[in-house]
Symmetry: D2
Subunit: 219 residues, 4 copies
């Protein structure tokens, strides 16, 4: 399971977001690997309408329908066709109370929930909310090109152990610096069920080749 | 000029947002009145593709393309087809520095900018940023059903005077509690170029009738 | 163990904060009950200098010494003489990552840490950070006059069980609506080691009498 | 008029904050120059009690007395003895509405108000709130050691002109990178009534000598 976060990269905005999602769909189908894309909110509906792989939101706000001009209503994400969401990405941290509420809302709305954490203790805490997945990403490695599975394997294995000790039904992903096939293989060897990545593919000169390299080790 | 803020009302989300935008388009064309709709980010692209009236964003973040998971890139709003944006709505206040930067970005990206203010002093301050419009809305009247043009006419005329004293090319709108044709006529009499409204139409039993009532006084 | 949060009540600001702290000291010594006071940052140093009961901060920010004008440096709280701190009060929520970092800083600086939570799931999550205490307070009951131990006993017992299941060295407090001796007895019966309270004493006509009533049930 | 912002530097926290304030008092009295110190909230009361120069807060929150655990009540700052306050420092930006409200509260409480801005347009906007002073500080020069009066004199003169065009009773200060006597002379030549500085003195090996150097050009 590969989750590709489009962030707010200009290479993954609007028309280019749709192109990138199509590349992901192509590689996913050709290689039989599960690839999930997380485009910006403004791009969700178009991508959902055009590609046939899971599309997740990057975030939604812990709000009820009503007077919240400019914020992201969970129901809007669902209506746009998202089937899951990231929660508490390190670039968009939420209070502990809001993370919990967003996981509850995700379940109520039928969205797969991936709660991001920054270290082993936070991974353990997030497991207490029983999301579908906890994704551990040490912030200092995000966008660094150095894979967490190489640089801090103990954070990955520690998160797997900590999460499973609280609730063994919660899956674990890892991210930060993941870009090559080797990185992915090492991550899976450390016990995770998938990876979360962004710049390694989105900002690659040839995103399709980057994705093919990434999945090459597990085919 | 009537600006309809869809907020995050469930009656203006997803499929229903598109229906409401179509009603606005119909009334706008039938009656020859300028109506602008401000749907949620996730609904922008679909509505732009389906209706032929101006569509504005409710907000964007003061960010550059890059690593800002879950935030709203101004370029994404433009790619989705928005031709303008609200800035600093009272439900999504920005720092003074960010308001200024968002007006600058709006100009660079060709977006019409409507900066919201909460009183005369803030209207005057916002005029210093030279947006296309300043929209004054006393927060305590928002959603109240009591029109600012009735309850606090001095805030409207004071804002018109204050804004024009700083930069007479900046237009002035008013909002908060506006819902009837009378409210609109009184607002225009106080010197504004249009109104910003939301619940009075969005949450009306018959939004089309509410819009027809609203514009009846100026036909 | 009774923790009295002074919040930003005018009855517990400046000179009046010192008076209230003296009342707490008097009751604590006369009755042999542990009472901890949490005044505002601006009042910490003076109260520490004048009373001989533990003084905790209401909050500090997750910052290092440096360029953070207007924020609360943990080292400043320590220099002012605080011996502990609340973390993540429902009126000042922190991200999960910041809660974890604040607990780590508290340990490094020798501060007793009380992490506030809003429900059982968040209590369990906070226990993963191994603070000295988790204090559960359903936000809707704060300041209500209806004690959590009466209105939602299952949140209290659920938090005790959840916290102990993660780390049995973490103490549990409860709060929200606690004001009478009965409330305190019921809370202790539910398994907590103490209570967190505010308005019931701070805003009482006679705070000393309110404190005496509170502790009457456990003498 | 020299305003020294202690920020959250460890060299200006607790006991060291008091020492630094005493140095400022000594230089102020010996040289007949107005020096104002802005320590952290936890240090306000002690410094006010020990030195005889004006002591300003670095910030307060736009809140009324009540349930705001961990935030900074304006009345608490006044009770601690502050006679003025910074508002909207670039490290603690406020919404336009909150800046306006904080200026109003400052006037009501008898506090001198210094509103910080980041460029000419924001200086002009802040003048609309009629604070006692607007202090312009380009964020990229803060802590740089390169003085705004040298690197961006047009931002200083532009702010003076813009502020005076809106309200000529509002004073103008400048800051960012100011550290030497030359920087100060140049700033005054550009039309400001004083400077706001921090690291140039606080982090100097010998703060007293740094202050003496600073004021040397204007004696």
């Amino acid at each position: 399971m590969i989750v590709l976060n489009f962030k707010t990269y200009i290479e993954a905005t609007g028309r280019k977001a749709l192109e990138l999602a199509r590349v992901c769909e192509e590689v996913s189908k050709d290689k039989g690997v599960s690839i999930i894309v997380c485009p910006q909110h403004a791009d969700l509906a178009v991508i959902v309408g055009e590609v046939d792989i899971p599309v997740y939101a990057q975030h939604f706000d812990n709000i009820e329908p009503g007077s919240h001009t400019g914020w992201v209503l969970p129901e809007a994400v669902v209506e746009a066709g998202a089937s899951g969401t990231l929660i508490n990405h390190s670039e968009h941290r939420l209070s502990a109370a809001d993370i919990e509420a967003c996981v509850v809302k995700s379940k109520a709305l039928g969205l797969v929930s991936i709660v991001c954490s920054n270290n082993v203790a936070v991974s353990k805490a997030c497991a207490a909310f029983s999301p579908d997945y906890v994704a551990v990403e040490p912030p200092e490695l995000i966008g660094s090109g150095v894979s967490v599975s190489e640089a801090q394997p103990e954070v990955v294995t520690g998160s797997v152990d900590a999460v499973k000790s609280v609730n063994d039904k919660v899956g674990v992903l890892c991210g930060a610096g993941v870009s090559t096939g080797d990185d992915l293989v090492k991550a899976l060897d450390l016990g995770v069920e998938g990876v979360l990545l962004a710049s390694g593919v989105v900002k690659a000169e040839d995103p399709k080749q980057a994705l093919l390299d990434l999945v090459s080790g597990i085919l």
